[in-house]
Chain length 248, copies 2
Amino acid sequence: MTERMQNAADAGPGPHYLALRDHLAGEIAQGALAVGARLPSERQLQLGSGAARGTVREALFQLEAEGLIYRRDRSGWYVSPPPVVYDPTRWAGFMAYVAEQGRVPTTETLGKQSVAASAADAAVFGCAIGTPLFALDRRRAIDGRPVLVERILVDPVIAPDLLDEGLDGSLTAVLTGRYGVRVVRNHVEMRPCALIKDVARALGVASGTPGLLVVRRSFDAGDRIIEYDHEYWRHDAIRVLVEVRTRD
Amino acid sequence: MTERMQNAADAGPGPHYLALRDHLAGEIAQGALAVGARLPSERQLQLGSGAARGTVREALFQLEAEGLIYRRDRSGWYVSPPPVVYDPTRWAGFMAYVAEQGRVPTTETLGKQSVAASAADAAVFGCAIGTPLFALDRRRAIDGRPVLVERILVDPVIAPDLLDEGLDGSLTAVLTGRYGVRVVRNHVEMRPCALIKDVARALGVASGTPGLLVVRRSFDAGDRIIEYDHEYWRHDAIRVLVEVRTRD
């Protein structure tokens, strides 16, 4: 670890791939390679740098691991947009905190249906296994680029006509405005994970790409669960930020 | 997404790999496959389930993505220990919060040296590029299994003899006890990432495995930076938990 981290930080001497990584990272930082720009092809990078094919790929994988570049289908490598900052201690939904950061949030409903509570769901909702729950599947994008897919479960008792509502905005706003529900507590759990199968496909990333699973449970003043949400984020789209001070 | 998530949750009908996934997840949940136990070989799973080789592998990759099992070198698949819970809003270091959860934390110093501040370091420390900083590289384990590697940077002005100290415990305790430094604010940033190269090697995982990068900056009452820490966690070892209530 020592050598890698030091060399990457210092742009000093070190393995050849780090020199190329530092060169490309520098171009990105200075804007010579702008957000959304396509990188030169691997072949062009090979010719330009005099590096071997394996070295070029190592540099690209390093930049991908850091979230600076990403692959799009098979058309090549692109400069990643900056990640959005998510502060779980703040009281703002996706549509609000993304817009606050000067970005454009959009939400697309992929499906809405009634499902039977699994054992795990039943434990969270305090209901019997098999009890009907509303499931809402959505994909959310920032500046047109899909960044997360989510499934939200809601107890039909709380919002009987929920599936007839427009759900492409803030679900919390619908629950508050239409059903008078008020969330007063959020329990947020975050786990790094691999994005695979249908989730990877919905986000347009290769299966196995790193991601972040954010599981949010929202409760009202009576400690009744209102929303149970699983969000799968692509790894380069989110940065979680928490600031904390001693209380004494 | 809809189908996958639904089927995985319900153990209902669905792709064959999900049935095997649910079966193995059930064995793990019930303790028939205990923490640390080696799973049957892929060949044995094939014979036992009647599933095709590709189906068996899909089920194993699914369980790996969820953090329930992991690969050890080339010796097979093992049941993951439960992740440790990290609450960035709490004021406890690794040695403290891991022990509180009934687990055994250990710290191993991999290297300590003086390095020259990079442009990024200089911006954080408010010093000139090239200024000497102390760098401490450590690997930390829970119950003997390495879970993170980290590099901590400290300004030598704050702790001139730091590199001569024993640093296999809490660095904060050394800075407080020996140098009278008091941290009053932490700025914590978390980014999902891929673990590659030296970091992956130090943690004994395959290059490209998902991980979590935790970047922590600690400040004293005068807003002077005390510790600048980069922690790379293996994805199945950590769960970040934040609980928040409305303030009104």
